[in-house]
């Protein structure tokens, strides 16, 4: 027993020193990763300025017709700075994008929609205009939050439940099959949701994540991480849209 106690203490100390050493190695690896990301960030910065100044030929013209619907996901902290969102929407108007959905998880931008519509030239609210009535020189804006995601599906599910209950036969207790994707799609429209699938989703935040954008609409959407909204760059925006126009999808076939 007396011999074992010092041995246990020794092995515990060795273990702690070992863990300390491993922790140092881990931190060192992360410092290297950070340096790599800083270097890559500098290259991207230089490239985006070159694109903005028109120095890179291939970005000077974009086939914007391919981009029918664009969505922008904004991190909740960034959404508090509405002026940056307005600037982004003005850039998108200049590029020629016709329909933009702006999402933040807590609906802060929804609350500021009147101000945004006023400050972005030729902007209209998509819900009022409808997808098919957007005039050629305007931009239709849609304001989306987490309530349009899972909660909207719940509301639509309750509509389908009512349909199912009404259709139940008294004899066999079975109802009509109202459970298909098109039925749920239609039910989502009834509860006031836009079901249009965005072609491209730009994420402005620290992490490439769709942050709870309505799942029903994300099937084949290209999701691109743009970095922080505070340091957004016009050149990076052009590059992302240009890259999208070159993507070819086979939709699983």
């Amino acid at each position: 027993m007396d011999f074992n106690d010092p041995m246990l203490a020794l092995s515990s100390s060795i273990g702690q020193i070992g863990d300390f050493g491993l922790d140092l190695v881990w931190r060192f690896i992360h410092i290297v990763v950070t340096l790599c990301l800083i270097v890559s960030g500098i290259f991207e910065l230089v490239e985006s300025y070159a694109i903005s100044l028109g120095l890179i030929q291939k970005y000077s013209s974009i086939d914007i017709e391919k981009l029918k619907c664009l969505a922008v996901v904004v991190d909740i902290e960034a959404a508090r700075d509405v002026s940056k969102v307005i600037e982004l929407l003005r850039w998108l108007t200049t590029i020629g994008v016709k329909q933009v959905g702006v999402f933040d998880s807590q609906g802060l931008l929804k609350k500021s929609k009147d101000m945004i519509l006023e400050m972005v030239p030729r902007s209209v609210l998509l819900q009022e205009t409808g997808e098919n009535n957007i005039s050629p020189d305007s931009i239709a804006l849609e304001f989306i939050s987490s309530f349009d995601n899972k909660e909207a599906v719940v509301k639509a599910a309750n509509i389908l439940l009512q349909k199912y209950l009404k259709s139940i036969h008294p004899e066999n207790g079975e109802g009509e099959n109202v459970f298909t994707e098109s039925h749920l799609n239609e039910a989502l429209r009834v509860v006031g949701e836009c079901v249009h699938v965005p072609d491209l989703l730009l994420v402005y935040g620290p992490v490439r994540s769709h942050l709870g954008f309505p799942a029903w609409r994300l099937r084949y959407t290209e999701i691109v991480h743009m970095g922080s909204l505070k340091y957004m760059r016009y050149g990076s925006l052009l590059k992302a849209i240009h890259k999208f126009t070159g993507v070819r999808q086979n939709y699983g076939v």
């Binding site: 092995s11 060795i14 273990g15 020193i17 070992g18 863990d19 491993l22 922790d23 190695v25 881990w26 690896i29 992360h30 990763v33 950070t34 909740i76 998880s105 807590q106 987490s146 995601n149 899972k150 909660e151 599906v153 719940v154 639509a156 599910a157 309750n158 389908l160 439940l161 009512q162 199912y164 209950l165 139940i168 109802g175 459970f179 298909t180 994707e181 749920l184 620290p206 992490v207 490439r208 994540s209 769709h210 942050l211 709870g212 954008f213 799942a215 029903w216 994300l218 099937r219 084949y220 959407t221 290209e222 999701i223 691109v224 991480h225 993507v247 999808q249 939709y251 699983g252 076939v253």
Partner: protein, 330 residues
């Protein structure tokens, strides 16, 4: 001399053989002085995990020349395994994901790029999957989900669909072999998707594997086959509605739909990796990935390797506190 055919080093039996001289390995006493000094010097770094000690001792046994017959490849494998264990030990100093999801994209492009015949890309993809699963489970990631076959994939040419179904049947059956990765890691396997769309043989094989692994609890593999996220959502809505109708309740709540989602057997993914550089989710786990970090390495799926997994985890560790904050806000 008997050899471990599967190179599985649980560590304890090798350590025991070394100390007692029983079994097939030489004892500590029989090593020359240089090797004894090597073992003693490596002890402190392996003391926290006997598996590491077993690996070190086995490496020394192999490098001592006694097991060299046919063992060069095994030696290299042991070196890789030891290096990997060291790397994973370092990575585990930070937060690790609990659930990783993979979209295995690029098998056909790989076959075309290498000039291989049709179907070879998928076979190469399966090997890549087995390697990736091994890395994930060695790292201690409990849940791994893979997108094996989408409902949209049924629209491919019939011969390609049939070839994929045949490959799937062969590989699903092989999961029941005693030497398979399922037994090595104690994996519980779920097949997630509209299994009614599969042919009877594949569906029966999948159900047999789910039943056979139902008692495993160490790690979980979720294979999404005949799966679409939108189909999963519709089926969850249907199950919720039928359940409410049976109980004469006229209101569905979010918790009802969440419970009826097939993927409710696992927590939400922490990282979703899609190979081949494509940036879309292609109708995979749309409901579950609101707080997931999305990662799209350029490598085609059969080319994916440890470096991509490590890079994804390092990025996850950098973003972990942000994503945890997001989860609490919801």
């Amino acid at each position: 001399m008997c050899r471990r055919e599967n190179n599985d080093l649980s560590g304890n039996d090798v350590v025991q053989s070394f100390i007692t001289g029983s079994g097939s390995f030489p004892t500590f006493a029989s090593l020359n002085s240089q090797l004894r000094i090597l073992v003693l010097s490596l002890l402190p770094s392996t003391i926290s995990d006997p598996k590491n000690l077993g690996t070190v001792l086995h490496f020394i046994y192999l490098s001592s020349g006694e097991g060299m017959g046919g063992g060069i490849r095994q030696l290299l494998e042991q070196v890789h395994r030891l290096s990997r264990r060291c790397l994973f030990r370092v990575l585990s100093m930070g937060p690790l994901p609990t659930h990783l999801a993979f979209i295995m994209d690029g098998n056909r492009r790989y076959a075309k790029k290498r000039g291989l015949e049709d179907g070879s890309g998928h076979k190469a993809g399966f090997s890549a999957l087995m390697s990736m699963l091994q890395y994930c489970y060695e790292l201690g990631i409990k849940y791994v989900t893979v997108y094996a076959f989408s409902i949209d994939n049924f629209r491919r040419k019939p011969e390609e669909v049939q070839s994929l179904m045949d490959l799937m049947l062969e590989k699903i059956k092989s999961l029941l072999d005693k030497e398979s990765i399922v037994h090595e890691y104690g994996i519980r396997v779920y097949f997630i998707g509209n299994l009614g769309l599969l042919n009877d043989q594949v569906r029966a094989a999948a159900e047999e594997v789910m039943k056979a692994t139902a008692k495993n609890s160490r790690v979980v593999l979720l294979v999404c086959v005949a799966y679409n996220s939108t189909d999963e959502i519709v089926q969850a809505v249907k199950r919720s509605c039928v359940d409410k109708a049976d109980r004469d309740v006229e209101r569905i709540q979010l918790v009802d739909i969440e419970e009826n989602m097939q993927m409710s057997v696992a927590p939400e993914p922490d990282i979703l990796i899609r190979s081949s550089g494509e940036t879309r989710l292609s109708n995979f786990l749309l409901w579950q990935t609101g707080n997931s970090q999305l990662f799209s390495p350029d490598a085609l799926w059969p080319e994916i390797g440890l470096r991509h997994l490590v890079w994804a985890i390092l990025n996850f560790q950098r973003s972990h506190s942000y994503l945890e904050k997001k989860k609490k806000q919801l």
